[in-house]
Symmetry: C2
Amino acid sequence: MNEFEIIARDSESRARAGLLQTAHGDIETPVFMPVGTLGTVKSLTPEELLEAGARIILGNTYHLYLRPGCEVIGQFSGLHRFMNWKRAILTDSGGFQVFSLAKLSKTSEDGVTFQSHIDGSAHLLTPEKSVEIQLCLGSDIIMCLDQCIPYPAERGAVREALALTTRWAGRCKEFRDRHTRGKDLLFGIVQGGMFNDLRSESVAELAEIGFHGYAVGGLSVGEPKDVMLEIAAATLPQLPGEKPKYIMGVGTPADLVNLVDLGADMFDCVMPTRNARNGQLFTGCGAINISNACFKQDIEPVESGCRCYTCRNYSKAYLRHLFLAKELLAYRLNTIHNVHFYLDLMKRMRAAICAGEFETFKKNFFSDQI
Amino acid sequence: MNEFEIIARDSESRARAGLLQTAHGDIETPVFMPVGTLGTVKSLTPEELLEAGARIILGNTYHLYLRPGCEVIGQFSGLHRFMNWKRAILTDSGGFQVFSLAKLSKTSEDGVTFQSHIDGSAHLLTPEKSVEIQLCLGSDIIMCLDQCIPYPAERGAVREALALTTRWAGRCKEFRDRHTRGKDLLFGIVQGGMFNDLRSESVAELAEIGFHGYAVGGLSVGEPKDVMLEIAAATLPQLPGEKPKYIMGVGTPADLVNLVDLGADMFDCVMPTRNARNGQLFTGCGAINISNACFKQDIEPVESGCRCYTCRNYSKAYLRHLFLAKELLAYRLNTIHNVHFYLDLMKRMRAAICAGEFETFKKNFFSDQI
């Protein structure tokens, strides 16, 4: 059985619309996954996520493993019931946070040892352990543990990291196949830094093992935008065409349009949620900063015609007031708008692909940006 | 026309159930008004307030005058449209905050000069100015400017403050009658500190002027609980019986039951909202602190049988996790529960009064407290 079906393909680009079946509902692609680091997409309820159009969110294995831990989430048979989210959840492997947040991380063939950024306690994350935690979280899409290295990095170090990532991917697959209850999907993660030939090597090795989907990791780690797009452009077409293709940790609305154009199906990023909490709101003409004095008496919504709860009910003047007063409602109303904006953008791209109008959509999108 | 109607009286106490008509809907009394200091009941939307049963909220004139100011709120013809709250709003006079929050406040016959606690700017708040701001806010119930003095205070100072409060009340009435659009109500505030005879003096002077309702101010300012109840017990019966009686800034659930027993109709307090943000949740058996380790794996809601959104959907373990992780959703889910608890308590008291069962209600309420 193939859990991923391609519904439509754009004739002038690599863009495609698909349907991904999970144990917690079908997901229309291209899809954006709001980030719910600690068992909550910051400030929102599950109902608000659903209303904004979310059908899958991302949970962070590293964070949830440390707080509240599998002991607690296990009481609820996983994250879904713990946080009251009934749709799909993708969990990352924990690798990215171990390398970026934890202290004193040390990689060996076995796995990576690290100290918690919260209390300094020592832990060992192996490929098997990562999958075990994700199974305990009840994840619908499990990510393989990969070795993330900083940008820029030497070719030799990148090659070693990708070879280790491949070996770890094999161990993840084996462990998952032994312990799955059969409803989760396992995705491999392509590494290879900014070297196209190493990316190709990584793709080939992962495809040989065989996964339900393939992610491109190690992008959006500080490299220039054109390098990111170039690597994505070279890597995406090499991934198995009948499987979902996921670009991790990206990006701006323009990035999403460009990457869908290049054939990507799935995305996650903290940008809509984090920027909302910093007062940056997305609109079809670009982003605005709600604290700007020009909005002081502005009785209009953030984006006229926007159907989100925030725009249907509140003015820019009110949002500015709440934000300047550091009121909790500010973060929430801003987040509702930004998440809605991102999910609506994906929905509109999908509709355009299905209607054979993606080129026009793209042209309009970029010409609307101020 | 009388905007306040008494529906039922308890035969064994002074408790009563009433109906207060305002320009933004009828209010069943006894009623609790959640505090919405800056044009938002912290963390909640108007829909959540309505679902919790709120029909009137309190706005703080001092805070709203400084931020965002009448210039902004005037653009929306008042607070209702600015914050998207369609039911009633009571605004305080600003006096309490001027005396407690502002810097260098100085009282004269004319009014009180003060410096903003935000930017140090100088302002003069007169009785007329206070009413003018409240009219600009579109308040349904306007409070007279009163002079609040600290506890404890000498009899001489209390007497002077109450005399000034009476003169200011007269000026408020005059200004309001000249400028009202006829739909707002004006309440006088009884002062007199912890001296029963001065309270009586204040009541008589205010009743002589004549208001739509009467508040007891200057309670819950640091005095012992029994003194507060004694002053309330002595003052409440002296207030005009056919008008709503409002105890300002009080209190715990037990205070509310005791004060309804003594004939009070209206209350406001930051306790349910502020304590929620500090992790304290109210239940029929008393309050719990959600950060307590005993809740780590507790899959039960805060209060079984509670119909609030939080209890219908989340466990104590999840709320504890969110609170310890300082997640924004924690403050919101906790606030929803506490506001629901307070409003439900008022609803149950009203039903008991109407059914002639208030004594039984009271007895059960206190015997349930651990």
